[in-house]
């Protein structure tokens, strides 16, 4: 078993899928010789050539829009948006073209494509290199949204995303790119979209997280254990579709939950999960479901880490739930 970090897992997934299926092409800014600014496509240009690893002009509308057309014409494009913050010039292509192509054509055309993007904060990037725009995508019918938090999940989910018949937004928590390493099976595997993963079992409170803050959720769970509280950590992994069943099962067991995410709170995916849990499990809850999220400000340069849910913040809210 090789030890991989997340960025290496991305690279391996791309490489395996490109080798398996020649319809798979990669496009984006600097994905060619440069191998991407995070090196997620390193070596692919040299291996698969300029027809399958395409350096594009600096235009996200061209990247996403062209991916839609390529997909409609039979390719399986994997577009890279250099930072999630830069998806907005291509937002119209994603929501008006990609998301609705299958629907508006009555199923005649479809856009099996992946839009990868490093997202989230913690890299001292200020508000245009740190955002977590998943709520925009999750709110857009027709898009699938995946946010892994470990190398193994990244590999298995990205491969599934590439094979999926619909447009998938694949958000990679950039602050974890090199921060998390683990042994990953050498044989090929995929992980189905739409399934959560129980990262840690527990019985007193459920910490629901995805992407970057999964790390803080796990750390908080350890802290809680020291205080005698047994916390279950659910990593959503997929936001659309999300694994309501797994979430409800866990919260039905623990009676308490926090939903933890980096994006601002208002109309966030965290709010969606919180609203759904409380709607479906009202009588089984021992405390309100609290959302531990980024603040409703643009992402600042100072402070960088404290914008996001810190372990302290998670513990404060856990206490609130436990003391309720």
């Amino acid at each position: 078993m090789a030890v991989l970090n997340i960025v290496q897992a991305v690279k391996r997934a791309l490489d395996e899928e490109m080798a398996r299926d020649e319809r798979v092409v990669v496009l984006g800014e600097d994905v060619g010789k440069r191998g991407g600014v995070f090196l997620a496509t390193e070596g692919l240009y040299q291996k698969y050539g300029p027809d399958r690893v395409i350096d594009t002009p600096l235009a996200e509308a061209a990247i996403i829009g062209a991916a839609v057309g390529m997909a409609a014409h039979g390719l399986r494009p994997v577009a890279e948006i250099q930072f999630a913050d830069y998806v907005f010039p291509g937002f119209d292509q994603l929501v008006s073209q990609g998301a609705k192509l299958r629907y508006r054509s009555g199923g005649q055309f479809s856009a099996p494509m992946v839009v990868r993007m490093p997202s989230g904060g913690g890299v001292k990037g200020g508000h245009h290199h740190s955002q977590s725009p998943e709520a925009y995508f999750a709110h857009t019918a027709g898009l699938k949204v995946v946010v892994p938090s470990t190398p193994t999940d990244t590999l298995g989910l990205l491969k599934s995303a590439i094979r999926d018949d619909d447009p998938v937004v694949f958000m990679e928590p950039k602050r974890l790119y090199r921060a998390i390493k683990e042994e990953v099976p050498d044989e090929e595997f995929t992980i189905p979209l739409g399934k959560a993963r129980i990262r840690r079992e527990g019985k007193d409170i459920t910490l629901i997280a995805y992407g970057g803050p999964t790390v803080e959720a796990l750390e908080a769970a350890e802290e809680l254990e020291k205080a005698g509280v047994s916390a279950e950590v659910v990593d959503l992994r997929s936001l659309v579709p999300w694994d309501k069943e797994a979430v409800l099962e866990s919260v039905a067991k623990t009676g308490r939950a926090l939903v933890i995410a980096e994006a601002p709170r208002t109309a966030s995916f965290a709010s969606e999960v919180a609203a759904t849990i409380m709607e479906e499990l009202l009588d089984q809850l021992l405390a309100p479901v609290y959302r531990v999220t980024g603040f409703d400000t643009p992402y600042p340069y100072v402070p960088d880490r404290q914008y996001m849910p810190t372990v302290t913040r998670i513990l404060n809210f856990a206490k609130k739930a436990l003391d309720y």
């Binding site: 092409v25 061209a62 062209a66 057309g69 390719l75 008006s96 055309f109 579709p241």
Partner: protein
């Protein structure tokens, strides 16, 4: 890059024109089209015009909710249609292309079915009228956001190049579309990649009420190709032969690997922008009358007449024949019956997930 065997020069100040207002052939090369082809062009234009008129009637009858008049655009569209290899090349059209679509063989009953959202619409009645699309013929389903289909068109063209299929993409849009950022991003990418695509502007000088002078400081859309390093052709789009020959050359160039071109067809829209518009607020009746005198159909009739290919009587007969065809198509489309409400939950994804199933049940419980 301009081979000297090519017929046309890019970036001319005056529009390329092959027949004059009186119907004389004024090109510096011989006409090499068969009688049959000339008649097809004529028939396609007439069908487009009559279909446009029929749409007004089904609108008044309440059978459809919206029409985008296309009269005045027929020559450009019929010309392009004949330059395409239907079902092989891909077409990314916009909402004002009924002449073009019918001319490449889009079954008219399906056009009607889209207008009336009946079960015969392959798009399953998901969109408002004038938004057709047909996979079988490689006609990408129209989307309302102006210019938003142009980046996907470029993507398809790049895919053709990568796969070496020999196909070409033709995408149409109005003058207004050229102002959008998506349009630019697309043309620029196509230029950088030398993709096999023809960008066809149907310049009717108005984006709804906004005239071209307010849309852009450039005097011609064709000039905009300078920005992308490929040729821009300025064409009289009321001249069906100029439209055909230039479109053909642009498509050939693309097929031979010479990359994209931008073709600007100068046309005029005789009707309002749409059935929701009142064009008297923003343009004079004199202006409309002036352009009606340049109607591409009579102009081509004069051309055909001079060659003994047309008489007023034959013209009338053809009209009656087409009208009957259209009526039959309309009836067939209508007979298919309206799309049922619960279809709305299909095709959001290849396979629906639990939330859509929950919501389908909500709707079903209300029906």
């Amino acid at each position: 890059m301009i081979k000297d065997t090519w017929k046309f020069q890019p970036f001319t100040e005056e529009p390329i024109r092959l027949i004059d207002e009186e119907g004389n052939w004024i090109a510096d090369f011989p006409l090499d089209l068969k009688e049959e082809a000339l008649k097809k062009l004529y028939r396609d234009m007439v069908r487009g015009r009559l279909l446009d008129e029929r749409y007004q009637i089904i609108l008044r009858q309440g059978k459809t909710s919206f029409v985008a008049p296309s009269s005045g655009h027929e020559a450009a569209q019929a010309g392009m249609a004949m330059a395409i290899r239907p079902g092989f090349d891909w077409l990314f059209p916009y909402y004002r292309d009924k002449t073009l679509l019918a001319a490449i063989g889009y079954p008219v009953e399906m056009l009607y079915a889209q207008m009336m959202a009946t079960r015969l619409d392959p798009n399953k009645g998901r969109q408002m009228p004038e938004h057709p699309g047909l996979k079988e013929l490689n006609v990408y389903t129209v989307a309302s956001p102006i210019a938003s289909h142009v980046p996907p068109a470029v993507g398809a063209a790049i895919s053709m190049k990568i796969q070496g299929t020999g196909q070409v993409v033709i995408t149409t849009f109005g003058d207004g579309a050229t102002s959008e950022g998506d349009w630019h991003a697309a043309l620029n990418f196509a230029g950088a990649q030398g993709a096999p695509i023809v960008f066809a502007a149907e310049n009717n000088r108005y984006a709804i009420s906004v005239n071209f002078e307010k849309q852009s400081g450039s005097p011609r859309i064709s000039d905009k190709a300078h920005a992308y390093g490929f040729p821009g052709y300025h064409v009289d789009g009321m001249d069906v032969l100029a439209s055909y020959y230039v479109a053909k050359e642009a498509i050939e160039r693309a097929r031979e690997g010479l990359g994209p071109s931008l073709v600007e067809f100068l046309v005029y829209r005789y009707g309002p922008h749409s059935s929701a518009d009142d064009d008297r607020v923003y343009r004079s009746r004199e202006e409309v009358e002036f352009w009606k005198k340049k109607d591409p159909i009579p102009r081509f009739e004069r051309f055909l007449e001079k060659r003994g290919l047309w008489t007023p009587e034959e013209g009338e007969r053809l009209r009656e024949e087409i009208k009957a065809e259209l009526l039959a198509a309309e009836e067939k489309a209508e007979a298919a019956g309206e799309v049922p409400p619960e279809w709305m939950f299909d095709d959001v994804y290849g396979t629906p997930y639990w939330l859509l199933e929950e919501q389908r049940q909500i709707l079903l419980s209300e029906l």
